[in-house]
């Protein structure tokens, strides 16, 4: 992209409006704008960067703290109002974009006051003609020189000593050239992704239940308990055999009292077993009844209240009404009362019947009340909770009583046998009692064990639920970690790609700078190498002497300029940016034959780009002019009036 023309209006010392057409001819790529020191060469470049970047690239003490408006234009204005503006037209061959920045000023209390600012961009459209672009600053960045790189395209020959000072910036610029902006954006998004995954892992992990039991311990305890139960079952079986033997002995004893007592005991025990079973059934029924009716118990009061209201209405003869609405209406329609009176002609009788109509309950209410009564009645009838509850309670009490009686009888038989006057019987009964006590004890132990096993099984079921949840959470966290690890892996790959691209650009830049330098420098053998050294956050430009010693800074002004020009030319070629290069006072610090060398180099090594050279009158000698002239497409001079301190760009001749 070339600058086709620049229009400066009332900017700094440029009074009035001047339009400068720059050479866009590839064969004659150089534009000369010659001016004496202080005539406004730097401000000409400042005008361009002010327009495009809202920044004056060359700082000067004269400009510091002063508005850009040409003060004469404002102070001489009859109405105290003036505008400063710079318009830059760019395009490859013909105008494609027109950028214009302007500031309106007015005088307030004798001082310039900036009233309005504007920056616009027009773009040519093949179909619509010139159209306004909404984002002029963005357009500059995209189609012209990126603001980060602009310093290398606006080149000040008098500032060569400081050219390589900002080495961090050089590295950044190389990264800019490498167009790694998208890579950095991808890396930033990967960081955002990793942050989002970490956040999600935290949220998911918080859902992991805390479990205070070890399923292995629980399983071990269940196994131990089952073993103990099994042993107790075996013991009980042995005890049962021993008990059965003694009972058989007593039952078949020749002493009929003993045998009868034992037979009676066997009967009582059978009876007791049956009663215990019955008791269990009744207790279970009672439990089921309570569970089934628990919700209705709460509604029972309301149902009973409703039933009372209906019953009361019935009692008062209101429900159902003794005279129905439909019946009275039929009488009025037929016109004859049940007593035979003519209700059509006998007005008094008709009024009496009509008065009845007022008193009767409407049909709709009668129907609802009758239905309601039926429903409520049904519900209450079916609500047999109290009676069923009482029934089971009574049954349980009865069975408890019967069992108590059986226990007493059994105890009595046992006592009689234990105190029997035949020793062997008493001893046998003593043994039997001991065996039964032992058995009861073991049965209780089994019961305790079974209860504990039940508890542990419930715990295991709970644990299964926890375990399932834990597995779910762990699987989710694992999946998130997997994506996070993969993201890290990819991130490292991308960093490697980024580094290799930047390194490639650096090497290319180094190689080209070196090539240009050794092609341009006239004392080639004094220098052995030019390097661009990567020092992490910065690049250092290194110029080695023929003895391999660092010599950057030791070279002459001309040599410094050659190195800077070499770097600029390399940067220009590496960047792929097609933009003009401005060189202010290119020969300012150079004297003697070196001048001609530089002039020759400018012509030769920057012949692929639009080159705008701003020499002073002392730099632009006839000899230098003749050297450059074959490549010069436009030639201007800045006319400066020292009295008015005003400049104007005019044709060179």
């Amino acid at each position: 992209m070339k600058i086709i023309e620049v229009t400066i209006s009332n900017f700094r010392q440029y009074h009035g409006t001047s339009t400068i057409k720059l050479s866009t001819n590839p064969e004659k790529n150089i534009t000369i704008i010659q001016g004496v020191n202080g005539s406004g060469k730097s401000n000409f470049m400042n005008a361009i960067t002010w327009c495009l970047y809202n920044e004056e690239i060359f700082k000067s003490k004269t400009n510091q703290g002063r508005d850009v408006i040409n003060e004469s234009a404002l102070f001489d204005s009859p109405n105290g109002v003036a505008e400063t503006s710079v318009t830059v037209t760019v395009g490859e061959r013909t105008p494609e974009f027109v950028f214009k920045r302007s500031e309106q000023y007015r005088l307030e209390k004798g001082m310039p006051f900036r009233a309005d600012v504007s920056f616009s961009c027009q773009q040519i459209d093949p179909d619509k003609g010139w159209i306004r672009r909404e984002d002029p600053a963005g357009v500059v960045e995209r189609v012209f020189i990126n603001s980060a790189l602009k310093n290398f395209f606006f080149f000040d020959g008098e500032q060569m000593d400081r050219y390589f000072e900002d080495t961090v910036k050089i590295k950044k610029n190389v990264e800019q050239i490498a167009q790694i902006g998208l890579i950095d954006q991808v890396l930033n998004t990967l960081s955002d992704v990793e942050a989002s995954i970490k956040k999600e892992i935290k949220t998911v992990s918080a859902k992991r239940p805390e479990v205070d039991i070890d399923p292995e311990d629980v399983a071990e305890e269940i196994k131990t308990l089952k073993d103990r139960k099994s042993n107790l079952d075996s013991d009980i079986k042995i005890l049962d055999d021993d008990i059965a033997q003694i009972e058989e002995y007593l039952k078949t004893n020749s002493d009929t009292v003993v045998s009868e007592l034992q037979i009676r005991r066997n009967e009582l025990e059978r009876e007791r077993t049956a009663k215990v079973k019955d008791l269990d059934i009744n207790k279970k029924s009672l439990k089921d009844l309570v569970s089934r009716y628990v919700s209705r118990v709460y509604a029972y009061g309301a149902l009973q209240h409703t039933k009372n209201i209906i019953d009361e209405g019935t009692k008062k003869g209101q429900l159902p009404p003794n005279i129905k609405e439909i019946f009275i209406r039929e009488l009025l329609e037929t016109g004859i009362c049940i007593c035979g009176r003519d209700l059509k002609d006998d007005e008094e009788s008709r009024k009496h019947v009509e008065a009845l109509l007022e008193k009767v309950v409407p049909n709709s209410i009668v129907e609802e009340a009758e239905t309601g009564k039926y429903v409520v009645g049904e519900l209450i009838d079916k609500f047999s909770f109290s009676s069923e509850y009482a029934h089971y309670q009574r049954k349980i009490r009865e069975l408890d009583g019967q069992l108590s009686e059986i226990r007493d009888n059994l105890e009595s038989i046992s006592n009689r046998l234990a105190n029997y006057d035949v020793d062997v019987i008493a001893t046998k009964e003593g043994e039997l009692k001991s065996l039964k006590d032992d058995r009861d004890k073991k049965v209780k132990q089994i019961s305790t064990i079974e209860y504990r096993i039940g508890e542990l099984n419930t715990k295991m079921e709970d644990f299964d639920e926890y375990y399932r949840k834990i597995q779910e959470v762990d699987a989710e966290v694992k999946a998130l970690n997997k994506v996070n690890n993969y993201s890290n892996l990819i991130g490292n790959d991308i960093v490697d790609i980024r580094d290799s691209i930047v390194e490639e650009v650096r090497k290319n830049l180094e190689l080209q700078t070196k090539q240009y330098f050794f092609q341009m420098i006239w004392k080639g053998k004094v220098w052995s190498d030019v390097r661009i050294i990567d020092e992490g956050p910065r690049y250092r430009i290194s110029l080695l002497s023929d003895h391999g010693q660092e010599a950057l800074g030791d070279q002459s002004a001309g040599e410094k300029e050659v190195l800077a020009l070499s770097f600029t030319a390399a940067l220009y070629n590496s960047s792929g940016i097609s933009a003009p290069i401005f060189i202010d006072t290119p020969l300012g610090k150079i004297s003697g034959p070196t001048r001609m060398n530089i002039a020759e180099l400018l012509k030769t090594y920057l012949n692929q780009t639009q080159l705008i050279i701003l020499p002073t009158d002392t730099e632009y000698t006839e000899e230098v002019r003749q050297c450059l002239l074959p490549n010069v497409g436009a030639e201007y001079r800045i006319s400066y009036d020292p009295e008015l301190r005003q400049s104007k760009v005019v044709d060179y001749d």
């Binding site: 998208l182 954006q185 998004t189 994506v483 993201s487 991308i494």
Partner: protein
């Protein structure tokens, strides 16, 4: 640089996503969601 084909494919998809959605801070959520889809798919492919 030793990068597997599946990772190369994922990297290209990430670049396409970034290019398509852009770098506007308002679209951060959309970028992160799209990247996570690509990375999840890539991580699963890496297993196979």
């Amino acid at each position: 640089m030793d990068i597997s084909d599946s990772r190369k494919k994922a990297i290209i998809e990430l670049f396409e996503s970034q290019w398509r959605i852009g770098s506007d801070s308002k679209l951060k959520k959309e970028r992160v969601t799209d990247f996570r889809k690509i990375l999840t798919k890539g991580a699963n492919n890496e297993d196979n």
